[in-house]
Amino acid sequence: MIEVLGRKIANKMNEITVEEFEKISAIHNNKELDNIEKQIKVFEVVGVEEDEWDDFNYFVEKTKEFNTDNYEVKDPVTEIEIDGYTYKGELKLSVKDTKLIEKAIVKENKHSVSDILAIMFKRTDLSNVEHYDNAHLKHKSKLFRTQAAEIAIPYLNYVTQTISNHAQKQAAESVESDND
């Protein structure tokens, strides 16, 4: 937490929720905003409204503080209990998972992080058929939005690495094919 205008404001990955993380990521990816506009909107996500900033130097100081890199790499959380149900996650992707995750990423989707977690965490009492049911995935995505964002990081890194490895292999084979 950092202190802004006498209030405690969440800035660490274990303090902000997945949903806040999704909103912040969307702001950073918005090419129509400049850096100052982005930071104003990021602060709005965590509870500081734009009209509260009346001292620019203070805003700059708090921006630096907010963005201080303080994420510690931790082992992935592999089990979560929400509403009495246990969800198990693995750093492992099946073809089906990868298909669904790619769709979640490619489509303009403000909940892609929680959607990815919903795909990778499986409720222990349900079968595979139920797990991949669209309505169940949507419901689970909503549940994961309330969890701490730090849960998502190892899974996002794994997904990014796996998909990029796959793409690189394909590209390398394509080059080899051109040279055949």
Binding site: K96, H166, Q170, E173
Partner: protein, 246 residues
């Protein structure tokens, strides 16, 4: 084993599969596109690949890397009982139909194109090979050619495009200006320019009908007879009319 069921080269791919492959969209991402490619080639549903590992998937993709390239540009002059009509013997009506399909999407319309270019034949009373007339709708024959290999016909596309370009170049003085140019508005078009473009588009839309109408001497009963005339004869005749201003 799925791997053994995959085609190894373009000569194992039918026209139908080729059209399906080229119609696949990448809007869900490259990974989903690759799955769709495999499903098309294996004639299975995407769910059928859900249980394989990513490594197995990559192995399958490696087997079909040939599909990233175009098929070899070969074509046959005969497909079973069908014979390829030489381009320089096309009629005006055939050329107009081909223009339509090439301008729409010549991959999607490949079956229509093939159905116009390959014709049934008979030996006439003089012992000569005679091609059937173009008095059928190519849409009625879409299914006829789907099982032939793509390598039996793919080379026709660049070959026909080459013929078409040569033809347009040869008769460019008879083509309307907009035939070769896209309609492009300037950066800040005024009302007059917009009106002009609209008029050009209207003229272009009916250009072939206007040509046939004038060749029919405005007698609609002669429409088919004009369409059956050899393309080159028609354009030579139009060239003569233009040069002599008659």
């Amino acid at each position: 084993m799925l791997k053994n069921k995959l085609p190894k080269a373009w000569n194992q791919i039918t026209i139908e599969t080729f059209i399906e492959l080229r119609g696949l969209s990448q809007e869900d991402g490259v990974f989903n596109y690759q799955i769709d490619v495999l499903c098309t080639l294996l004639d299975i549903y995407p769910e059928d690949l859900d249980d394989i590992s990513l490594e197995e998937l990559e192995e399958l993709l490696l087997e079909v890397k040939f599909i990233r390239d175009e098929p070899p540009k070969f074509y046959k002059t005969e497909l079973d009982n069908y014979k390829l009509k030489p381009f320089n013997k096309l009629t005006l009506g055939e050329f107009i139909s081909l223009e339509k399909y090439f301008s729409e999407n010549y991959i999607e319309r490949l079956s229509n194109i093939v159905a116009i270019l390959y014709r049934r034949v008979r030996i006439n009373e003089w012992g000569d090979v005679e091609l059937e007339p173009y008095n059928y709708n190519s849409n009625d024959r879409l299914e006829w050619f789907l099982d032939f290999k793509i390598t039996d016909v793919f080379g026709l596309l660049p070959e026909y495009i080459k013929f078409r370009e040569g033809f347009i170049e040869q008769y460019k003085n008879l083509m309307t200006e907009s035939y070769e140019n896209d309609f492009e508005l300037s950066e800040n078009p005024d009302a007059e320019e917009i009106k002009e473009i609209e008029e050009e588009k209207r003229q272009q839309k009916w250009a072939w009908e206007q040509l046939i109408w004038s060749l029919c001497n405005e007698d609609l009963t002669k429409f088919n007879a004009v369409c059956d005339l050899p393309l080159i004869l028609v354009f030579n005749f139009l060239g003569m009319k233009k040069e002599l201003n008659v």
